[in-house]
Amino acid sequence: MQNKTVTRRTFVKHSLMAATTLTALSGRRVLGANEKVVLGVMGLGGRGTYLAESFAKRSDVQIAYLCDVDTRRFARAREAVEEAQNHKVVLLQDFRKMLEDRSVDAIVNATPDHWHALGSILACQAGKDVFVEKPMAHSLWEGRKMIEAARKYQRVVTVGTQSRSAPYVKQAVDYVRSGKLGEICLVRVFNMMQHAPQPAAPNQAPPPGLDYDMWCGPAAMLPYNPSRQWLNQWEYSCGPIPGDAVHQLDLARLLMGDIPCPASVSATGAIYALKDGRDTPDTQLAAFEYDKFTLLFESALWTPYMKKTPMDVRDTDEMPNWPFNATRIEVLGTKGFMCVGRHGDGWQVFNENSSLIATVPGRQADQEHQDNFIQCIRSRAKPAADVEQGHYSVLLCHLANIAWRAGNKKLAFDTRTESFPDAPEANRYLRRAAYREPWVIPDQV
């Protein structure tokens, strides 16, 4: 049943400070071996609804809460979940009510980027495990705070980068590690997309049913505009390119042994094709220098000839048409060349004669990734896409963004302090300039 008793006023009144009491209020439930894992979902857009339905179909999971600041999003998710699990759910605009419920073991955080960190940290403080969608954090600093919260409250926090759970990817990691490619000096990561321009419309009052104040949360409360797509605005997003490309960068890092931070970043890019009022680039290239190799990243939003893997190729033994595949990773060694695809595409290796010497087909791994999360909730083991790995992957997005915003500069990166020692003007992008009260992430989580 929909909870209509929590108003925005009462929600704001109970500031973030109150969240620190949630741990004491809720405590931690001891999960029996045969007990269902009880989940709540915050954010009921396309991805959140998909995850809610997917988890609801599991026999070892029960969805107890569906939360969204926009009540117009309730119906679709509610219908899918209740039908899948044959059990009613509670609908909330204020997800904090869910965090107060001791019976909830974990939450799925599928909100927009600017709510990922705060929602996840509050959940950790309340003793909940977290499945947070990518990109995991809106800023580099927020990512670090998420790790701190996960460790401090001993929570399982996993990121929705499901390729990490794919068996074919593990085989690719083993192949790279075997040394058969020789010394790997260059990794090229592509993520080409096709976005349409956002339509123009005047600002207007938020529609009934949407708590726009809470939607903005820690970000600035810009005037409501139905045409403005949050993905294209720094205030709420890491940008449309990182929002998708973080999958690719995460996969590349994994192939290279989960290498943490690069020593430097240089970037270029622009808004070339989609001049529609957005402030995020539609063309973005970055070079990350590691100790033994360089990672080149290339992405754009306007390349219709380079498409993501077609549906009739995904999850089959067929290989993508690599030159026109928009989501490939190329691993260049001194002895061999490897092409890896993301959507269950598999991978292939070519030798110094350009001859094909290895082919491993793949399958997508949403199910395996969810399996891993549920197993880790029970075992307390670190998940396949642990928050720390999620941080190091989205960190590459942040570095590329910062280098571009700082004027397409090359920036040395101090991996210890996670800052730019030689570019104080770039350091201001490491953290949101101002958090809107009461949605402030404290220094000490």
Binding site: F74, P199, P207, P226, K308
Partner: protein, 378 residues
């Protein structure tokens, strides 16, 4: 069977079903046609044709709320039924008056029909509302993707079109499946749910509305299912703009050609006006909860006091309605587009059933929340 008389099965079916439906519901199914006859005719200039005569019994049919007529035929040597091309009916598809009517099906020799023994004919009529040509206040701003109406201007011009007065019903859909989908395509086992849909597949392979469910909106239909049904009728889904204008009305309710009847509420968010669907404890459509009288879907036309200015019912709530437009997300660009739904459903809060709220769904998805209605654009 009298060879000169088309089987009057439609009228019988409608009569039977009308007895079963909710007492306050009207026009939920095909309009009743009786005394249907057909005969060969020849004209000097146009050649052979079949002249079809019938009585359209619904006295509500008028210029404003006409009937859409479509004819399907099967040659006796063939298994499948075909739609008579609209071009061959000489513009007689929109019928504006009840009583005795006729239409001519031209070009029958070209269809391989040389005598009446060779062909079975079925004729059906659907209640429509006329939406006159003219400007309207288009307030929705679809996400990036395909907009069939080619733009987002406000005010926005649309030529004349006709939109189904009600959502497509279980009975209509069963009729379609019985003629077209006996192989099981278009039917979803979830349709058996007697509370939410109520469409049964019999062991004979035929389909039948469960008792009392004929006049409810069909749901658990994918976008493709809806498109299939409408192609069978010679119709299509409304664009977002057509759907929105049908709800709100043009700047002039009699259209820009006349401009005699100004729309008193050209920016209305709901078909009836500005009041919320549950304002003052009066429920104007079938939203979440059972205080409106329905815990699940409601029979079409149940809230006809709150129809749109053109007499279109149930645009708000009951089932969200598939439209022709699609939305391309950043993550699925280059793949199949998400289709846009309008109007909200029986599970939506009042805020979600207005003129602009527009969730999206993959076209293969189906649920108890989603149905559709037809549009005819001459």
């Amino acid at each position: 069977v009298n060879r000169n008389t088309i089987k009057p099965w439609i009228g019988l079916m409608v009569l039977t079903m009308l007895i079963l439906v909710h007492a306050t519901c009207v026009h939920g199914q095909w309009l009743a046609l009786t005394n249907v006859t057909h005969r060969f005719a020849l004209s000097e200039l146009g050649g052979a044709h079949i002249l079809i005569e019938y009585d359209l019994n619904d006295t509500n049919v008028s210029h404003q709320v006409p009937a859409y007529l479509f004819i399907r035929y099967r040659k006796q040597s063939a298994q499948s039924w075909n739609l008579v091309s609209p071009q061959l009916l000489q513009g007689r598809q929109v019928v504006t008056s009840p009583g005795h009517n006729q239409c001519a099906w031209w070009g029958i020799n070209q269809a391989g029909i040389t005598n009446l023994d060779q062909v079975e004919i079925r004729i059906r009529a659907l209640a429509m509302a006329r939406v006159p040509a003219g400007l309207f206040r288009k307030k929705s701003v679809p996400g990036a993707g395909h907009d069939s109406s080619k733009g987002h201007k406000d005010p926005f011009y649309l030529p004349e079109y006709f939109i189904a007065r009600y959502e497509t019903t279980v009975a209509m859909y069963a009729d379609y499946l019985n003629e077209f989908g006996t192989d099981g395509s278009g039917w979803n086992p979830k349709m058996l749910d007697a509370q939410r849909c109520g469409l049964e597949k019999l062991t004979s392979g035929l389909y039948k509305a469960l008792p009392g469910r004929a006049n409810y909106p069909v749901n658990y239909v994918s976008w493709y299912d809806a498109a299939g049904f409408l192609a069978w009728c010679g119709l299509r889904l409304p664009t977002e703009a057509e759907w929105e204008k049908a709800l709100r009305g043009g700047l002039y309710l009699d259209g820009d050609d006349s401009r005699k009847i100004a729309n008193p509420m050209p920016e209305r968010p709901f078909p009836w006006g500005n009041e919320a669907p549950d304002a003052g404890g009066v429920y104007r459509c079938n939203v979440d909860g059972d205080q409106d009288g329905f815990a699940f879907t409601a029979p079409v036309g149940n809230f006809r006091r709150f129809n749109s200015p053109y007499g279109v019912g149930d645009l708000s709530a009951n089932v969200a309605e598939w439209t022709l437009d699609w939305y391309q997300t950043s993550y699925h660009a280059g793949l199949d587009g998400f289709r846009i739904l309008r109007g909200g459903s029986w599970m939506d809060p009042p805020a979600g059933v207005d003129a602009v709220s527009a969730p999206t769904s993959l076209p293969l998805k189906s649920s108890s929340l989603m149905g559709f209605r037809a549009v005819f654009a001459p």
